[in-house]
Subunit: 404 residues, 2 copies
């Protein structure tokens, strides 16, 4: 078999969030009747329920009227917009970001992740990733022909930190891992790494000369005023060995514009731009203009958005925890929940298909986030509040039908 | 040196079109005074001079108002828009394109190229590309660790075809080349492959079981009503071994939306979508809506646009051909000219920097299109007509100052 064929066999996207419409659910045999209700797609946030930052479209339109200068930016993004965003992100993270050397705008945070990984992995490199973590992390390492070294996060063993196994991480560095990628808050569990965890990660990477890529996509949506620690502001790790990724696609609902960014190491940012030159040239020029509204939301907008999400979270957790055999850790930041189910008669992938066919609810199987999560699924609860609660009731009903 | 470091050393973007602002021109020593004039950036088309298709922004805004469904499309693009565009492209090319199986929307044609190459190249594969051709083609092969097999195009030896060396191409296939990538019309020369050339390319690929990726980005802007042959409509090559790439960024000036697409082999399109899942997820959802205006231009709009470009071309060619030692083949389609200069006292890269510093004119050095083109530069003449003519006069003045 050719190498490229082999690579693409591993690169399945059938259960990837957003691709469910390509699944064949016809062959699924249902136990009992369909359960009616408003369809809810928990695989991603609903930007109709939580709309983009006011003024984003106006900024886009203004970009179109600027014309050529906005259409054809440097590959790393418009200088003016980089300066605008780098300053706002410097303030948010407590880091000093040079817009010219240390910052790049990308097509979504997925684009930033791909470029950062492609700029740091050599074939055969050992790369540590967390399980569970964002579904593409493993695929990225495999695509660039690195070797995945999984680091366990025991998120049910604690509620004062994420639960990362730091001994395992140190062992991985000792065994030659030169790159560690993780999301904070963690995707899919929504837990935040404690300051001690972040500092330990930084110290270990510094001790062993490793590079860190940290995906902070959901770091603005923190519940109950919890502490959030930016690794980039700790001054522990050589700043040339750190890339931080953020973007306005989640809490801010700008996903339709496909915008992300990365900041940190000038050397890695330079490579990311060179790679962007052959991958997609740049984030859509006019879309870049929508970044002006990011971190410039109307007064109270973000506070209200966080409170509304917290209220949905609370209702869903109450529903889930009322059921024997279901376990769920409360989201600390972001819009994900990752409940663990009791034993079922069907695999988690089959359960996902049944949910769509029987209850019009879309969730993402735990196995997208690590092969061992055969009893968990992820939801993004950034949805219409009532629709989400009613959909979760249907999920529970269907689960009872398939409980072992 | 690590593999990834080595890879990025080859992946220079300093002279890549659009990146000139990052060049250091301070150290350039000028012969004579600066030559004043309206700055012209010939590295890409000027979307202020030739504006996007009327209605594109309205389609985008309508997409924003559709909301979540437009923001989160399948990775291969919105089903409705795929159906719309696949039908229009089927009519244009004389091909049958199934919107569900054989079509993908990408972030620009650069995105399509990257995905198509990444979906077909295994490390160590021999990949044939044309010299001269689009600057990223060589870089893509190298990034995916393929071996570049250059095929010469003797564009000055003929004016009835592109001048591709078909013997060399057959030898390459005999030697094991399994993938051939070329642009038609050719970038940077603007020549069209004859029907005989296209059919021979298809027959050779079929004979040797090779796959072809053809980049037809500029195929709508054909001058003097010349014949243009779509390989996809010839039924010579197994349709599962062919990918055609198009997009609305050039003639149609929609570059600010970053849109491209690819059609052909279901197997390769499937892989491209899986790769897109980790590269950038999808073309910006709202931008996809702008594709509705593509191939749906107001009556006469395209004819007028072609005529206006032809007029610019004619004036520039007249200027260039009046100078002893300059040789240029007339553009047959698209907006590129690739003049060859007489011997200069400076390298072509230095000449490019001098032009920017002394005459406020940006061109792309020939070496971006093949290492041997040390005496040529490329311009995109989709510019304000008078500004382009006056800029070319300045190019010629500067050239005379540096003539050996």
């Amino acid at each position: 078999m050719s190498l490229v064929k082999e690579k693409f066999l591993k690169l399945g996207a059938e259960y990837a969030p957003g691709q469910e419409v390509r699944q064949n659910t016809n062959e699924v045999k249902l136990r009992g009747e369909k359960i009616p209700g408003i369809p809810v797609d928990f695989s991603h946030g609903d930007v109709n329920a939580f709309e983009p930052i006011p003024g984003s479209l106006d900024n886009f339109i203004e970009g179109v009227h600027i014309g050529g200068e906005q259409a054809y930016t440097e590959y790393r993004g418009s200088k003016m917009i980089r300066e605008n965003v780098a300053e706002k992100l410097s303030n948010f993270t407590g880091t000093t970001i040079n817009a010219d050397q240390n910052f790049i705008i990308t097509p979504g945070t997925q684009g930033a992740l791909f470029l950062a990984m492609g700029s740091t992995i050599s074939r055969g490199d050992k790369v540590a990733i967390v399980v569970p973590d964002y579904f593409a992390n493993r695929k990225l390492v495999e695509f660039f022909e690195g070797e995945v070294i999984p680091i366990q996060m025991e998120y049910f063993h604690t509620n004062t930190c994420a639960g990362l196994d730091l001994n395992q991480l140190e062992d991985a560095f000792k065994a030659g891992v030169k790159l560690f990628l993780f999301s904070n808050p963690n995707n899919p569990t929504g837990v935040i790494y404690s300051q001690e965890e972040i500092r330990s990660i930084g110290e270990l990477a510094q001790k062993y000369g490793a590079t860190i890529i940290v995906d902070q996509l959901y770091s603005r949506q923190v519940f109950e005023g919890r502490a959030y620690t930016h690794l980039s502001a700790q001054n522990i790790l050589d700043s040339e060995n750190l890339i931080t990724i953020m973007g306005p696609s989640k809490t801010e609902s700008l996903s339709g514009y496909r915008l992300g960014d990365a900041f940190g190491s000038a050397k890695i940012i330079d490579r990311m731009e060179k790679l962007q030159a052959i991958v997609s040239l740049r984030a859509a020029g006019y879309s870049q203009a929508a970044l002006k509204s990011w971190f410039d939301e109307p007064a109270g907008w973000m506070t209200r958005r966080i409170a509304e999400h917290q209220a949905i979270r609370d209702d869903l957790i109450t529903k889930l925890r009322a059921i024997e055999g279901i376990k769920v850790r409360a989201t600390e930041a972001g819009s994900y929940l990752f409940p663990r189910l009791p034993e079922l008669d069907v695999t988690i992938e089959e359960f996902v298909k049944v949910l769509r066919a029987q209850a019009n609810v879309t969730v993402t199987p735990g196995t997208e986030f690590g092969p061992q999560f055969t009893d968990s699924f992820r939801i993004n609860f950034s949805q219409d509040h009532q629709a989400a609660v009613s959909a979760m009731e249907r999920v529970i009903k269907v689960m009872e039908l398939y409980r072992k």
